[in-house]
């Protein structure tokens, strides 16, 4: 290749860098999700890795509340601090609400069925355990773990994510008075069981 051709290519490339305009000012929720959120949370919020919770079909009010807690730093469990404080910082209330609404309209992932541990988990979920001060989860989170308003959908979430959240509520690493009261006497086995009932790997 001659020098002239190489110079021409360079000039064209540099011109392209300068000439191609950035995206228009108003970025819609689907665009933000595709460009930023999807890199960890997966396309339409269905993530591969349990480090990043599934957001597809999650309750819109819950998502908005979490984004606000991230932006305001009131939710400070380790991954919230490491990842979401930065991610939520530049979002406006309107963007949060649009993102939440879009993700809540996506098709949720179903839980994986079956197993003895899941059966035990179903009983804990439906009836609670008096001896450990665990109320029936379903009373707030819905008969099928679908959530309601600011109370999140649990059904179909990553197992390790649910397990980490329950442990964090129990230890107050995730600061939530109600969930702390509900989990402070929960045993590790009970956590495994109820997660087994609700989750999809």
């Amino acid at each position: 290749m001659t020098s002239l051709n190489w110079i021409s290519i360079s000039v064209c490339a540099l011109a392209a860098m300068v000439a191609v305009p950035a995206q228009a000012q108003t970025t819609s929720a689907p665009q933000i999700i595709k460009r930023v959120c999807a890199n960890c949370h997966g396309p339409d919020g269905n993530s591969t890795s349990a480090t990043f919770p599934r957001l597809n079909g999650q309750q819109a009010s819950y998502l908005t509340a979490q984004l606000k807690n991230f932006r305001g730093h009131s939710r400070g469990d380790p991954h919230a601090m490491a990842y979401m404080w930065g991610m939520a910082a530049p979002l406006s209330d309107e963007q949060m609400s649009d993102i939440a609404k879009y993700l809540s309209s996506r098709k949720p992932t179903e839980p994986q069925k079956g197993g003895a541990l899941a059966d035990e988990g179903r009983k804990i979920y439906a009836d609670g355990v008096d001896a450990n001060n665990i109320p029936a989860c379903g009373a707030c989170h819905g008969d099928h773990g679908e959530g309601n308003g600011t109370i999140p959908r649990l059904a179909g979430q990553h197992a390790d994510y649910l397990k980490t959240q329950l442990e964090d509520f129990r230890s107050l690493l995730r600061n939530n008075e109600v969930m702390h009261a509900n989990t402070k006497d929960m045993t590790n086995h009970q956590i495994e069981a109820v997660v087994s009932y609700l989750a999809n790997e």
Binding site: M1, M17, P21, C40, T48, T51, G86
Partner: protein, 458 residues
């Protein structure tokens, strides 16, 4: 170790030092972790790194997207159809790193030098790394190196990137302007950001190395076009040209030797599959460089006209793979790489600087590393190279460049941006032989080295 046309100790020392410098430069210190990216995104180091400079799948996306993901406030301007004219971060993306180290070799490189060496600093680098506009970002490193006493441009990668949806697929595409083949790559299995990430400046290494393994670092300028589809399929093509050319530049070895004729094509294809906490990549890459006035491994230089002289052609084909398992408690990375170089010595052989009109050189390595909670880690790597028998070209006593060695390291990170390391390099074979490889009684194991370092990024 080197063809000694003279018995002079001084000549041997100079040639040995030259070869060592080539090796040290070829092992380009890894510095991909840059705190200015953390300041720009608000993301902690663990979002993009297992332990710096090793990247996670998200870190690869950040790099592929042109280093532009940003959550800082900016100075901006738009035109009347609401397109951005500028988008400059309020915080300049400046960071620094410093490495302080000490080394102890089994036997001194020559009778005049010490067996032990302390470097303060071994390296001090400044980075301008971050978003320049919403679609253009940079990784620019300038380095002061204690051993050479120089301050100059180090690895640099300036990118344009954008995203698009094509037939339902997410496509990241972009251009990279860079000065080191594979510095722009996303995986830690290609040479520029491969293991070992940092080594002693006084580590004696075999002189033979393929051209893509750092021989051209910071002496070339490259432009490539790449795409990353669905965070899975990666393809890139580019060209490299020698930098520091032209009559207006002062004549030195960089401007008159190992000059790429025209351009050297570069290509890269890779496939990544992510599932659960796992990630696996398989890929191939290549570089085809024809060099005017090449220098041989033995240290001889062809000095002919740059306008018309014959060239040596180096065709490098590499295959690489990387597996990662990443969760909060355990971070595992295993890489494997093999590079085959065909050398057609049309300039070197006719002048008698090589025994064969063509040679081959193959290098390969396997490296595994494990970290517990990103705090305590251990890495073990096996490296090997072998090649044609050509005593004149490779400068080794028995004619072959063959070498193999192990590199083992333990690390402790009290904070995510402070890394302490203790590294041991042990040679089983060096420049063709296990014992007396240089004809002067030096054994491969004499180059074994213990190396301790502190690497701080801020």
């Amino acid at each position: 170790m080197l063809k000694g046309s003279s018995d002079s100790f001084l000549t041997r020392s100079i040639l040995n030092t030259f070869a060592a410098l080539i090796f040290a430069m070829a092992w380009s210190p890894g510095a991909q972790a840059v705190p200015s990216y953390a300041r720009q995104t608000g993301l902690a180091c663990e979002a993009c790194h297992t332990v710096f400079p090793q990247l996670t799948p998200f870190g690869r996306i950040f790099k592929a997207s042109g280093y532009t993901l940003s959550n800082t406030s900016k100075v901006q301007d738009i035109d009347r159809i609401k397109h951005y004219l500028m988008s400059l971060s309020d915080t300049p993306p400046i960071s620094a790193m410093v490495v302080v180290s000490t080394s102890s070799a089994a036997r001194a490189a020559d009778p005049d030098s010490s067996r032990t060496s302390t470097d303060f600093p071994q390296q001090l680098s400044l980075f301008y790394s971050g978003a320049i506009t919403d679609n253009v970002g940079a990784f620019i490193q300038a380095t002061y190196s204690d051993q050479s006493g120089t301050f100059g441009i180090d690895n640099t990668d300036i990118r344009f990137a954008d995203v698009a949806t094509l037939y339902g697929h997410d496509v990241i595409y972009g251009l990279s302007l860079n000065n080191n083949p594979t510095v722009q790559d996303l995986w830690n299995s290609t040479p520029a950001w491969g293991q070992p990430f940092f080594t002693s400046a006084v580590l004696q290494g075999p002189a033979a190395s393929t051209k893509v393994e750092g021989a051209m670092a910071q002496s070339v300028a490259g432009l490539s076009l790449y795409t990353f589809v669905d965070q899975s399929i990666y393809a890139e093509v580019g060209v490299y040209r020698s930098a520091l050319q032209g009559a207006s530049v002062a004549q030195n070895a960089s401007t008159t030797n190992d000059i790429i004729t025209g351009v050297a094509p570069y290509w890269r294809v890779a496939y990544e599959k992510d599932w659960g906490q796992n990630s696996w990549e398989l890929g191939t890459f290549g570089l085809d460089a024809s060099l005017h006035n090449p220098t041989t491994i033995a240290g001889e230089a062809v000095n002919q006209s740059l306008q018309a002289g014959p060239t040596d052609r180096f065709l490098d084909i590499g295959i690489d793979t990387q597996y990662q398992y990443i969760d909060d408690d355990n971070q595992v990375t295993v890489v494997g790489r093999g590079i085959r170089e065909n050398q057609r010595l049309d300039a070197t052989f006719p002048l008698g600087f090589a025994d064969n009109p063509s040679n081959h050189l193959t290098t390969w390595d396997v490296v595994g590393s494990y970290y517990w909670r990103r705090q305590l880690g251990a890495t073990l790597g096996y490296f090997a190279l072998n090649g044609s028998r050509d005593a004149t070209y490779f400068g080794s006593v028995n004619g072959r460049p063959d070498s193999n060695w192990i590199n083992a390291e333990v690390n402790y990170l009290p904070w995510l941006n402070v890394k302490l390391g203790l590294q041991y390099t042990a040679y089983m074979k060096f420049s063709g032989a296990t014992s007396n490889y240089d004809g002067q009684g030096r054994n491969a194991s004499d180059n074994n080295l213990i190396y301790g370092y502190v690497w701080i990024a801020f």
